[in-house]
Every structure is written in structure tokens, then in C-alpha cells.
Amino acid sequence: MPLEITGLVKRFGKGAEAKEVVRGLDLSLRKGECFALLGPNGAGKTTTLRCALGLTTPSAGQIRLAGLPVPEQAREARARVGVVPQIDSLDPDFTCAENLIVFAGYFGIRDSEIRPRVPELLAFAGLEGKENARIQSLSGGMKRRLTLARALVNKPELLILDEPTTGLDPQARHLIWERLRRLTAEGTTILLTTHFMDEAERLAHRLAILDNGRILVQGSPREVIAEHIEPQVVEVFGEWDGSDNQAANGAATWAARNAGALSRRCEISGETAFCYTDDAAPLLAHLAHQPGLRTLHRPANLEDVFLKLTGRELRD
């Protein structure tokens, strides 16, 4: 198995000030799958990855990375893993090709072995002919793609990506998605963390939603949606003239009086009411007679599950 984690606990600090960031986490990746780890800021995603790579010692639990026990044999295990970190860490003093060659050196790969592969690696990242380009001349998307190419110098069996598309434009995201799908098709296992639900829904064969250091749900995107949320959502927003009070004529007031009878569950976020239901027809018929209110009827998605499970409060 590419990665197997059982009972992982990670505490920072000591005594009364100790903070448990990961609290009993189990995870096992199947060969060739793409697994997404979702969770709000501070859920424990990055700490889990650091533990998996042997970069910090778990407080409890067992980890096997590429079949080897971590942290005991973390170095040997990392030789078979590629990592795309969250923060750009390319070498600004080197060209694109030099970045790949020098990084391969850390794996004990000789220059004569990596040099012929540089054009192919750059092409994979959509950076054809950029061998001699300086890092400063690359856009954010190009840097991230070069980091992806750098993570592939050792032909890893497992690729770990920490928020690979954060801060990228849609074109760059789509290119990265396409490349990651190509890698899984070729048999590479992928573990990624992301804040983008559409990314997880499109890419992941399986996913886990993590909060407060625990896995809340796990399964394929379709299973998770089917199991944890009503199939239909009607978003209601705008002004409601059914209220006698001018100051409270929003969707929230409408929802307080009507949503309970017309939907299974209703959540208010900002000025929008999210009505979850198995059958939207009665609700939509009612809304057709409320001229001030606007509606958006759609199937429930992963983001709805995520918000249901982790709440709508801001995380810092």
C-alpha cells in the first residue's frame, strides 16, 4: 500500500498548553488512486502530511509510507515519493533545468541520468523549451507546474500535493488536473489536500473530510454526497414582500416562516437561505408566488456536504 496511517495523533506543546492537532486519524491509500484530503484551515491536513513524510514525530500511531515504517525509515521511503509543497520553494538562483537537475541530486540521481529527461519533464508541466528560463520570469502557474515536474524527477510511486492549485487561474488549474489524471492513469498514486470542492469532486476517486484533527466522512465523492446530504438544493435570496417589517424583508425572514414546512433542512448564510430537500417541486411552486425572491435550484454537491459537516463559521 502506498500509504497507511493508523491511529495518528499529533500534539504540539506540553502539559496544559498542549494542543492536539491530529486526533486519531486512520487513512489508507490504494495503489493508483487519487485521494483528496479536505478540511477547513487548521483541520490538520498539513500536519498529517508532515507526519506521513517523517518530517515531524507523531505523538501516537503507526505510519507506513511506500511500505516502510515512518519515521524510522522515512528517508528511504521519501526516495519513492514526490512532494509538491504548499509554498513555492523553487531555487530562484537556478534556471528551470538546473532546478530539476539539482533536485534530482538530492535523490542520488546523476546528472547524466536526469539531463536527458529534462525536456520530457518540462513538457509534461507545459513548459516546453523553458530549460534556460529564470525562475523570476515565470508566472505563478508556471512555477507550480515546474514544482510538479520537480516532484517527478525520481519517478515516484506516490505523489503528495498540498493545495496544488491555490492561487492559480482556471487555465492553469485545468492543466494541472489533466496532468494529475494522466499520472493516476499511468499507475501513480496521488494524495492531495485542497480547499476546492470541485477539484476534489473531479479528481478524487476517494476523499476524506477532516475537521479538528478527525476524519468526519470518507468515501467516493458520489457516495459521500449521497450519504450525507439531501439530493436537491434551492438557494433563495433577494427581497421578500410578505413581511410587514421593512427592516426584515430578506430571504432569512422568509425562511424563518416558510422553509420549515417546504424543505427538510434550511441553512442561512449571509443573505442566502439554502433549502435542502428530496423533492423541490412544492418549494419551487411556493416560490413562484414570491416575486421579490430569486432562486437557484441545483443538485447538492460536495461543498454542501462540507459546509454541513464543518459548519459555516469562518476559520482562521
Partner: protein, 263 residues
């Protein structure tokens, strides 16, 4: 190290550290000429300016022209400076700003290897600069004896010693500004107390005893005689102290860096 090692464990190194050393060398090679000129110009200007200018007034010191006396001290303190600057400013950039160390740790290279590579690299760089300064000194005729060549390994050891001390500061630094304290409270006073510009015999008794223990004093005690064509006294003591400070400081730096990055 693997993360199972306790914080205080002795260094565990692998040959991969040379891949990290090579990374720093390849970056340096791109800017080798300006780097050497930069490390060379300042100490040489001071040496010639003070050596000839002040030398007119003081004539001879310990039986040699002042500039010949100053040459050995210059080589010692400029080695200290270049090793210190490399581990403080460049090392901090790689560790904290550019996240180079974090990228390397995702490969099969341990933090111990990275810190050791920084140590050896800073010593190598200061030795490259030191050799250039030695060449200029020889050009002016103040390193005429073949014994002067023996100063090169001493320069390397001096570089290791100050690189190890510098790595402690780098491991502790919240930002670049922190390094000012190290320079004003440690490096600058040491430069003045270690017999670089004047013999330590000029210092009051109490100060002299303390000054003799400073790492730079030991470097000066070795390098100056070699440049003057003499075999240094108490070679074993001076080499031993420099080596011991290097080992103790490196281990300390390693513990602090592990605490900072592997927590």
C-alpha cells in the same frame, strides 16, 4: 536525522550532504567573480590602508613591519567574516525565506545533512575567499615562506568554527535584524580583542586572559606565524580549541534547528 531521534541526539550524517553542498557551490559559481572580489576588496583595502598608513607611525610590531603583522590578522578575521555572513544571511535566506531547506527535506535528505552541508559550504566559501586574500598578501611579499601554504587548512578550520557558531544564530533568528546583535556584541569586539590589529600584550591583564580564549585569537595565533614563515607555538592547543568549538557549536546548532523545523 529521522524524526524518531531525540532532539539531543548526536549528528547522523549521510553522503547526501554533498548534493546539498553542491547546490550552494553551483549558485556561488554563477557569481564567483563578484563574490570573490567582494570578499577580497574590503579586507585588502583595510590591510593596505592601515598597514602602510598606520605603519608609518608604529614602524615595527613584534619585530616585523606593521603591515606584515597585520597580514595574518587580516586573513584570520576576513575568514571569520565570510563564514559568518554566509551562515547568517545566506543560510537564513535558504532556511526561512526561500524555503530551500524544506524543499530538500522532501527528498531523501535529512535535516542533519542539510545543516552539515551549510557548515562545510560556508567553510569552503570562506576558504576560497581566504585563498584569494592570501594570494594578494603573497603578491605584496608578506607571505614569502612556503609555510604560508599551511595557512589554507587553518583558514578552512577557522571557517568551520565560525560557520558552526553562525548556524546557532541562524537557528534562533526571527528575522535578519537579529543578526545585528551578533555582530555588535560578539564579532566586532572579538575582532578588536583577538590580536588582529595589535598584539594582545597591549590589553589589560584581565581582558587579555579572556581575549586569549576567543576563537579568533586561536586562529590568529596559528595564521600569523605561518605567514611570517614561523612554526606556530602550541599548535595542538589552538587546533584543538578551534575543532572543539566547531563540534560543540555544530551540535548546538543542530539541536536548535531540529527544534525549529522538525517540531
Amino acid at each position: 536525522m529521522t524524526a524518531t531521534q531525540p532532539l539531543l541526539a548526536p549528528p547522523r550524517l549521510s553522503p547526501r550532504l554533498f548534493a546539498v553542498w553542491r547546490r550552494n557551490f553551483l549558485v556561488w559559481r554563477k557569481l564567483a567573480l563578484p563574490s570573490i572580489v567582494g570578499n577580497l576588496a574590503d579586507p585588502v583595502i583595510y590591510m593596505l590602508g592601515l598597514g602602510y598608513g598606520l605603519g608609518m607611525l608604529v614602524q615595527e610590531v613584534e619585530g616585523v613591519p606593521y603591515i606584515a603583522f597585520l597580514a595574518g590578522g587580516t586573513l584570520a578575521y576576513s575568514t571569520m567574516n565570510s563564514a559568518t555572513f554566509e551562515t547568517l544571511y545566506s543560510g537564513f535566506s535558504r532556511m526561512h525565506v526561500q524555503k530551500t531547506w524544506e524543499a530538500i527535506m522532501n527528498a531523501p535528505v535529512a535535516l542533519d545533512d542539510i545543516v552539515a552541508a551549510e557548515l562545510v559550504w560556508a567553510a569552503s566559501k570562506s576558504c576560497l575567499a581566504g585563498t584569494a586574500i592570501l594570494a594578494v598578501i603573497a603578491l605584496f611579499g608578506f607571505a614569502a615562506s612556503p609555510l604560508a601554504v599551511a595557512a589554507i587548512p587553518v583558514v578552512f578550520l577557522t571557517g568551520l568554527c565560525f560557520a558552526a557558531l553562525g548556524l546557532i544564530m541562524t537557528a534562533l533568528a526571527p528575522s535578519y535584524d537579529f543578526f545585528m546583535y551578533y555582530f555588535t556584541l560578539f564579532i566586532t569586539p572579538m575582532t578588536l580583542l583577538s590580536g588582529v590589529f595589535f598584539p594582545q600584550g597591549q590589553l589589560p591583564d584581565g581582558v587579555r586572559t579572556i581575549a586569549a580564549c576567543l576563537p579568533l585569537s586561536h586562529a590568529v595565533e596559528l595564521i600569523r606565524p605561518l605567514l611570517l614563515g614561523q612554526v606556530p607555538g602550541q599548535i595542538g592547543l589552538h587546533l584543538g580549541v578551534l575543532a572543539a568549538i566547531t563540534a560543540a557549536a555544530f551540535w548546538t546548532a543542530l539541536i536548535l534547528t531540529r527544534r525549529r523545523l522538525l517540531n
